[in-house]
Symmetry: C2
Subunit: 236 residues, 2 copies
């Protein structure tokens, strides 16, 4: 973690610790410079990062303010960290239904930009939140990137393993979703009545070099899942 | 629009016109500087904006590449532009069910940070895509910000009116959603069977100065709506 990232994390933690609310004004740059004993440009980079993350907003000529409409138990769709961090305070567990090496589906091959003849890791899990079903997750991993997986790894956070053990840099993701009715098999796994509403998501994760490495299809239990997004207006 | 924003828009248009694909490499900075006859810092700002918008990704030491997984007909949840621009090529129309000045609900007052005794504009619309119901939208506008609305305005894009006619700067938004079953009234308006799946969204729009001005509750027709998000990894 770079210096400005660490400072951003520290400021974010301070906002939580002091229970600051939406619209509360943060200290001026000089105060932060003194507090962290760093240059103005480092503080500016830290605050820019916090703005991109939706933690603060900057009003020209007026100051920096807390942005914090987050509601507890909502899953952030802009975080690439997986649930573990997102749903802090909730107990997230996984049941592994499948873990093998296989040919990708045509859809998975296309989204991973791999040859359909190339083998990929396939993982199917049911994830639980406080003992209730949260979602069914089917993931295809590019084997030339994620070279090894085992049962122990996929029972925990695969993303922690990918960044910590494999040392890969997780970059951007593309996410698509729509709403529909779950089928009989999905209903059984989620322990819901057949044809219940479901949120169907597809997510493609890329390394910072642009290579897609994970194509996942996730079906959410509508009774256990709620989502939030903090959007910036870059769309002038 | 500032110079770098215009250049960003031009580069984005070029990507579309040339039908560039995900992973295609863009020209080097020098080439862009020559093409637009501007300084390196202006080009850098334009490319940073495009990266924030999810149009390109930059790989250190390697170049700038096209990011373009967008699927046609998907609604972007990071755009604050409303559907009109988002669903370019689709015909979006609105039926106004209500337009009046009233006391906000407790929920609306809280989300708009207004006094519950203060009057707000209330607008209820059904929005159509190519003649099919797309969503039911109930919006509360802070009257001290959005001082005037009429039937003609709310039949079209309220956001265009707010930025163009009122000259307000639309900033960030907070968005929450979950999935459930629509009730009888919603089913009638959306022309769906009772208890069909539905996507329920709440969105709070703020000015660039942080003031919330629009609290909207939107119920989507699950058969007509699909969504996408291009997320950056600011979450190290």
């Amino acid at each position: 973690m770079l210096k400005y990232q660490q400072i951003a994390a520290d400021i974010e933690q301070e906002i939580v610790d002091k229970d600051l609310q939406q619209g509360d004004k943060l200290p001026v740059l000089d105060a932060f410079m003194a507090q962290f004993d760093v240059s103005k440009s480092t503080i500016t980079k830290a605050l820019d990062l916090l703005e991109k993350k939706g933690i603060v907003y900057q009003v020209r000529g007026s100051g920096i303010f807390v942005r914090r409409h987050k509601r507890r138990g909502y899953i952030s769709l802009l975080s690439n960290q997986g649930f573990k961090k997102e749903l802090d305070g909730f107990q997230i567990t996984s049941e592994v239904l499948a873990l093998d090496i296989r040919r990708p589906t045509a859809e998975a091959a296309r989204n991973l930009a791999v040859n359909p003849e190339e083998s990929v890791y396939y993982v199917k899990r049911v994830r639980y939140i406080n003992g209730q079903t949260l979602c069914i997750e089917e993931s295809y991993y590019n084997k030339s990137v994620v070279s090894y997986l085992n049962n122990e790894i996929v029972s925990e956070s695969i993303f922690n393993y990918i960044s910590d053990a494999l040392g890969l840099n997780i970059g951007f993701s593309d996410l698509y979703f729509n709403v529909g009715k779950i089928n009989k098999k999905e209903a059984e796994l989620l322990r819901l009545p057949d044809a219940s509403p479901g949120l169907f998501m597809e997510q493609i994760f890329h390394l910072t070099n642009g290579q897609p490495f994970d194509f996942s299809k996730i079906t959410y239990n509508y009774e256990q899942s709620q989502f939030f997004i903090q959007a910036n207006n870059y769309f002038l």
